[in-house]
Symmetry: C4
C-alpha cells in the first residue's frame, strides 16, 4: 500500500482510478458515484412521458454529457491499466462499455438510445465504493455468511425449481387452457408466482381441483421459506461466533472458547 | 428523580407534562393517550361518507374540541419547558403542531381540514406512554437488538434498492409500454411490488421474456428475505446473551463483560 | 389419576366426557372428533350449490342428526359436571352451544340455519384431543416458546397497527378518493394488505406520490417480518436449551452447563 | 462396495442401473438425468401453441423416442432387480411407469398424450443423482434438520388448516355470496390465499366487517410464519451442533456424544 517513490504517471493514474486507498482515489470514486447516480436519474426522468415532453432537449444533452464523461473515464481506465484486455472482458468492464455504447449506436440506429437504461447496471459499482466506508466490516461479515450458505441455498433453490416444474405441469393438466394456464411454461410461471407468495392474480385457478392444488402450493410456499431463513440465520450466527471468539487454546489448561479480547484464560487464569 | 423541596409552578408543570415518574405525570400521559385515540377515531369516522352524513356536525364540533384541547396542551408545553424553541423544532413538537394547525387553517382555506388526518402521527406518543408500563424491558430489549442490526439492515435495504433499480430498468426495456411498464420509475415500483412478494397485480408481465425475468425477481425476493431475518434473529440472541452475561466486575481490575462461566478475569487473570 | 374405588355414575360420566386418561375417555374423545369433522363436512358440502341441489334433503337430515347428537352430548356434559354454570359460560361451553342453537332457531326463523357454519369453531376441540397423542411434548414445547414471546410479539403487533394507521391516513390524504382510498378505515385496510405483503390488488395506488409511499410501506413490511421471526426463533432456542440442559452445578468444581443425561461432571470428572 | 469376483450379468446390470458407486453406474445416472430433462423440455415446448405449430411433428417423434428409451430402461430395471414387484409398486417405480404409459394409451385414446406432462415427476430422480455429487453432505444435513422438525411443523400446519377452516366459515357467513365467497370450501380457499400472504385478489372482501376480519387473518398470517421459521432455524442449529460435537468415544465406557469442551466422560467420569 505504501506508494513507491518513483512512480510513472500511469501508475499514479491507475492508483486514482482503480484503487481507493489514496485521497485522490477516494475523491475519484465518490465523484464517479455521483456521476452514475446523476446519469441514471436523467434516464429515469426522461422515460416519464410528462417530463420527456417538458425537458426532452435538456435530458438529451445531459445524456450526451454523461456519455462523453463515461467515455473519457473508460479510455483513462484502458490506458492506465497494465492489462486493458482483462479489464474490457471483466463484468465491470463490460458494464462500463454498455453504459456508453447505446448513445453512439443511436447515431446510426434510431431507438438504440432506449438501451441507455442499462446504465442502471453501473450501480453495481456502488458496492465497491461502499467498501471504502465504515460499512466494510458489515459487508464482509454478511458476504462471509452468504457465501457459507450458498451451497445449501442452491439446493433449496433447485428443489423449488423442481417443485414448480412438477406443480406447474400438474396444474396445466388440471386447469382449462382458457383460465390462463395456456402452456406448461405459463403454468410454471404461475407456480412461481404462487409458491413465492407474490400472487399477482393475473393467472389464478378456477376449477375446484385447481383451487385445491393451489392451496397445497401456497401452504408449501408459506412453509418452506423457513428453510433458507434457517440456513442464513445459522451462517450469520457462525460468522458472528468466529469474529468474537479467538480459536486460541490456553497454554496452561488447554481449554478453548476465550473471547477475542481475552488476555488471561478464563478457566485457570493463565496468561494466554 | 427525587423532587427537590423548593419547586416553582413551572417545574411542577414540566414534571407533569414532560415526565412520567410522578403520579400526576402518569395520569397526564394516560389522559393524553385517550385524547389522541379519541381524536383519531373522530377523524376516521368522519372520513366515512355514511357516518359523515349522519353525524357530520357532531364530528365537526368534536374535532374543534380536540383542537382546543391540544392547543392548550401545546401552550402548556411551551410555557413549562425551559427551552421552548428546542421543543418546537423537535420531531414530536412538530407533530404536536401539525395536529392543531389544520383546524385553524380551515377557517381561511376550505379543505385544509383534510390535513387533520395527520393527527394519526400523534400515535407515535403511544410509545412514550408504553415505556411507563411493564413493557419497558421488552421495548428496550427489542430496540437494542434493532439498533445493533441497523447497519447490516441498511446495507441489505441498499442492495434491495439497487436490485429493484436494475431489474426495473431491465423490465422497462423488455416489456411493452402498454403493459403498465410505462416509465422506469413505474417499472421500479413494479419491481418493489414483486421483490417484496406483495404482488398487487396492477402491473404484471405479459411477454414470455418479461415473465421469465419476473420469475427470477420473485425467487430473489423469496430468498433474500432470509438475510434481514437472520440478522435480526442473531442480534436478538446477542441481546439476550448480554442480559444473561455476568454483570460481575473483576475485583482486581474492575472490568466487566465476563462470560457467565468464567472463573478468572479474562483481562488481568485475577480470580473472580 | 388413580380412580377411587367408590365412584358414582356421575363421576364416571364426567371421567369419560371431560377427561381422557381412561380408555373410555379416549374413545369418547376420538368419537367426538369424528362427529365434529363429519358435521363440518356436511355443512361445507351443503354450502356448495351443486351438492345442495343433489343431496339437500340428505344434508338436512344429517345436520339434524348431528344437532341431536351434540345436544345429547351437551346435556350429558351439563349433568355430569359439578359446576355446570362454569362450563356453560366457558369459551368451549359457548362454542358447544353455538353448534346446536342454530338448528333449533331455524324452526322459528328461516335462515338461522346458515349460522350452522359456526360448527367449525368446534374444531378447537381438536387441540384437546391432540394433547392425548404423542404430539403432547411438541405442543407443550411450542406453546412454552410462544407464551414466552407473547409480550414482545404484542409490542410488535401494536407497532404494526400504529404504522398502518399512520400510513393509511397519509395515503388517504395523498390518493384520490376515486382510487379506492375512499375513507381512512379503507386506507388502513389497504395498508394492512400491503404491509403484510398480501397484496390483493383490490385497492392499489395510482398517483406517483401514492406509489412512492406504497413502495416504502412494502419495504417496511418486507423488512419488519424479521422481528417476530427473530423473537420466536430465540424463544424456541431457549425452550430447547431448558429441555436439554440440566441446571445442576458440579458439587466438586461448581461449574454448570452439563447435559441432562450427564452422570459425571464433564470438567472435573466428579460424580454429579 | 468391493465388487465380488464372480458376478452374473444381472448383478452387473443392477449395479449400473440401481447403484451409483461404480463408474458405469454414475454414467448411467447422468445420462438418465439428461434424458429426463430433455423429455420434459420437449413436452414443455410442445405445450406452447406457437412452437407446437412449427415443430409439432418433430416433438411428436422425440416424445416417442423418449418413450421407447424409457420403456427400455423400465424393462431393464424389471429384469435386473431381484424383486421386480417391489420396484413396480414403489413410488419411483410408479412414476417411471407413468412417464411411458400415456404414449401407449394415446394410440387407443386420443388425448391421453396430454398426460405426458406427468414426466415432470421423473424430476424427483434428480435428487438421487444429486446425492452422488459433492452436495451429498449438504442434502443430508438439511434433511436431518427437516426430518427433526417434521412433527412440530405438522402441528403448525394442522393449526393453520384449522384456522383457515374456522376463518373461512366465518367469512362465508359475513360476506355476501356474490362477492366470491360462494361456498365454504371457496371461503377456505380464500382464507388460505390470505393467510399465506399470496393474495391473488380473485376473491377479496367487500363489506366493512369482511375487511376487518380479513385484516385480522392477514396479521395472523404475517405473524405465524415466524413459527415454522423458528422451528427450522433451531433444528438446523442443532444439526450443526451435532456435526461439531466431538465424535470422540470415551476410552473407558466407549460412549459418545460428549461436548467439544468436555475433559471427562460425562457418563463414567473417565478422562477423555
Amino acid at each position: 500500500m505504501e506508494p513507491k517513490p518513483s512512480k510513472t504517471w500511469r501508475e499514479r493514474l491507475q492508483e486514482i482510478i482503480f484503487e481507493s486507498n489514496t485521497a485522490a482515489g477516494k475523491a475519484f470514486d465518490v465523484a464517479l458515484l455521483f456521476a452514475i447516480l446523476g446519469s441514471i436519474l436523467v434516464v429515469m426522468l426522461d422515460s416519464v412521458t410528462h417530463y420527456h415532453r417538458l425537458y426532452g432537449v435538456l435530458f438529451f444533452r445531459l445524456e450526451w454529457a454523461f456519455t462523453l464523461l463515461f467515455t473519457l473515464e473508460y479510455l483513462l481506465r484502458l490506458i492506465s491499466i497494465r492489462r486493458p484486455i482483462r479489464y474490457i472482458v471483466s463484468p465491470l468492464g463490460l458494464i462500463d462499455l454498455l453504459a456508453i455504447v447505446p448513445s453512439y449506436l443511436s447515431i446510426f440506429y434510431v431507438g438504440a438510445q432506449s438501451l441507455l437504461v442499462l446504465r442502471a447496471l453501473r450501480l453495481l459499482r456502488v458496492f465497491r465504493i461502499f467498501k471504502l466506508t465504515h460499512f466494510l466490516t458489515e459487508i464482509e461479515f454478511l458476504s462471509v455468511a452468504i457465501r457459507a450458505s450458498l451451497k445449501k441455498i442452491s439446493i433449496f433453490m433447485l428443489t423449488v425449481l423442481m417443485l414448480v416444474t412438477i406443480l406447474g405441469s400438474v396444474m396445466y393438466l388440471v386447469e382449462d387452457r382458457q383460465n390462463g394456464f395456456s402452456s406448461i411454461p405459463e403454468s410454471i410461471y404461475w407456480a412461481i408466482v404462487t409458491i413465492t407468495t407474490v400472487g399477482y392474480g393475473d393467472i389464478s385457478p378456477v376449477t375446484p381441483l385447481g383451487k385445491f392444488i393451489s392451496s397445497i402450493v401456497m401452504l408449501i410456499g408459506y412453509g418452506i421459506i423457513a428453510v433458507p431463513t434457517g440456513i442464513i440465520t445459522n451462517e450469520i450466527a457462525a460468522a458472528a461466533r468466529n469474529k468474537n471468539h479467538s480459536s486460541e487454546s490456553c497454554p496452561s489448561c488447554g481449554r478453548e472458547g476465550h473471547d477475542a479480547d481475552a488476555v488471561f484464560c478464563k478457566f485457570c487464569g493463565h496468561h494466554l
